[in-house]
Every structure is written in structure tokens, then in C-alpha cells.
Amino acid sequence: MDTITSSLPQLLQGLWHTIGYSLLAIVLATIIGLIAALMKLSKFWPWKAISTVYVELFRGTPLLVQLFFIVFGLPGAFPVLNQIFGPKSYPFIGAAAGLALNEGAYITEIVRAGILGVDRGQREAAESIGMTPFQTMRYIILPQAFKRMIPPLVNQFAQTIKDTSLLAPIGILELMYQGQIIVSENFEGFAIYGTVAILYFIIIFIITRMAGYLERRLQIDKR
């Protein structure tokens, strides 16, 4: 018990990093996902192609490989990255970008399904009162699609939190890495990794409960 209480401050510090990276990634990923989904639904084939390649690439390869490639691979081929961001900060930026791009690929599909799930008659009604395609998307389709998207988005958020543990091998001091550092000093793997797991579980539990609650709320007032 003592080992846990004495290492808890360090673990909680790691937890804050985990939450910070998760929030940053999910916000960026939602923006990326929205843009990529609109590109994928566009009639202009180059948009469609770019978006499809993006989604397939990031869903079809392991996140850990993507992170290593972006953080350790890209600066070798493009030294300009280190010049712009600084060799010290680039790994943090690269890690956040990699995570956001990976989650964004999944969110693209969530947004796309949400948009396609809105009845075709809604678009026709909007166009029949003279709305442009942009206005139709902005005022009619997206607000309705978004309501359907909330539960899967929250689930993707929980997934993102789990995925941040893959930032440990690239040296981001999030929860998992803090756990590894503590264990390497006190060799109490059972207690420490157990605590790490419980901390992840608590956060994800809260989020999935929120998802369940939202889902019920949206079913009650289906509008």
C-alpha cells in the first residue's frame, strides 16, 4: 500500500498528461474527421481520393508504427521539421499529431456515417427553400448528424485515452511511462501496473457512462 501512496503523485502527474494528450488529440481528430468526411462525400474525385487514402492508411497500420514513423522517421528525411519545431519539442508535437491523425481516420467514418444517416428528404427540403449546399450542410444536415454521432464519438474518446499509452515508448511522460519509470526503480510491478490500470479504468468508466447517459437522453428527445 505504501508503494502505491508514495508513487501516486507521480502517477497522477502522468494521468494529467494522458488526459491532456487525449483532449488535444480528440479535438484535432474531430476537426480532421469532419474535413475528411466532407471530402469523402464530395463529388470532386481528388478530394474523395485523398480522404480515402488517408483513412485506409491510418486504419490499416498499427498506431505504434505510425507514431515511430512520425516522431523518429520523418525528421530524418525532413530535417526542416526539427528546424521549425525544435528538436526538443518535435517529439511532443509529432506524438500529438500522430495520435490525432490516427483517431481522425476513425472519426472520419463516424462523421460520414452520421451524415449519411440523415434522411435524404432533409437535404431536398433545405434545397427547395433555396439553401446552398454549404448552408444545407451547416444548418440542416450536420446538426442532425451530430446528435447521432455523439455516442460513437464518446466511445472513440475512450479509445483515444487507451491509445495514449502507446506514447510511452516514444518518451512522453504519460501515465503508462510514469508507471514504467516507477517500476524500474522499485520493482513493484504488480502494485504499480495494477494502479495504472485502475486509473485508466476509472477515467474510461466515467466516459462510457457519459456515453450511455447521452444515448438515453437522445432517445428520449429524438430531435
Binding site: G121, E124, A125, A126, E127, I129, G130, M131, R223
Partner: protein
Amino acid sequence: MISVKDLRKSFGSNEVLKGISNEIKEREVVVVIGPSGSGKSTFLRCLNGLEKATSGTIVVAGMELTNPKTDITKLRQRVGMVFQRFNLFHHLTVLDNITIGPRKVLGKSREESEALARQLLAKVGLKDKESSYPDELSGGQQQRVAIARALAMKPDVMLFDEPTSALDPEMVGEVLQVMKDLAREGMTMVVVTHEMGFAREVGDRVIFMDDGVIVEEGTPEQIFSNAKEPRTKAFLSKIL
């Protein structure tokens, strides 16, 4: 008001409209009848560009719809459409359903749009429903809101695609009443419907369509009582 010349429309290799020509005058109420699949909806949808004509010309309110240079959103502001399945915006209140067009498309102020919306709601008999959501209303009420939504754009023409055929029988009357009032006020209307009472009462002209062509047209009296074409007679004997 509407001028259609040799309108053709194909979906893939399936030619659905096979050369339709017609002139619809200002203040005229035209009722379109015909069997299911004869192309009535497609014809109507071509008139506001929801379907793109394969060939032919359509001029509505002085704008040539079939000219690719025409701003189709401008044209649609002048042409109201009422759908069989209402298609009210589910996420907006009744009031917002009606004001969103004037506000976002015409750029009018919220105050002005809401004043107009309340006037229209009173007209369709739904004054007390402005803060309801569409899913809380009956079909007849939803369709009346849909009519108000279209009217809020102050259109020159109103298109109705079987506006009462998704309704329970007891609600048909309330929607037809609103449409009759509109017709009497001089609105130019093209109505796809099988409500013969409506056609006789306010219709100036009835068009019978079958298999993508206009088979016969005339006054309600001529069509319903003295149809000449065998296809018209056969159709009418089935529905009357």
C-alpha cells in the same frame, strides 16, 4: 409563369419523362394525375431543379432552369415545394422551421422573419404550435407547417407532390383547406394529387400523365366527366 418544352429525363437507360411540354400561367392551379410510376414526381422535381432535366427547356418565373448559368438557389427561392413526407427539419422548432429560410437564405432579420412566421402559422391554423418540434405534431399539422415554411419564402409558384397521401384520412381535409385558401388567393400551383374534390373545386386544369407523357389535359369537368383517351378513362374508372 412556368414554360416547359420537350422535357426529357432519364435515370440511366430508363427514360422516365418522354417529352413533356406545357405552359402554366400566373394564378393558374394545375392538378396532375396519373398512375404510380408515370413520372409525376419526377416532372415536379424537374421544375425546381431537384432533378436535372436530361434535355428540353424549363423557364420558371423568368429564369431558365435548364441553362447551366442560372443560379439554381435563386430560382428555388421563387418556387415553393411541399413533399409527400413533409420533410420538416426535425432538429428545429416549428417557428425555426419557418424562419430559417427567410433568415439564412434571404438574409432577413430574426424579428421580421418571426413576425411573418407567426402570421403564416395563424393562416394555417397552428398559432399555438410555434415552439413544438415536428415529431410532436400529427401528420396533418406537420404538412401545414411545411406549407407555411414554403410560403415564408414568398414564392411565385407552389409545387405539391401528393401532399395528403401520407396522411390519415381524418387529416386530409385540414391540409386541403389550406391549399384551397391559397388557390383562392391567387397562388400559382402545380399539385400532384388524387383528391378529385380538390381538383374540381379549385383546379383550373387537369393533366393526366401516363408512362412519361401527357396523355390528356383539360378542365376538371372535361377530364373527369368527358375524358377522350382510353388510358384516361381506364385510370379514372380505377380511382373514382
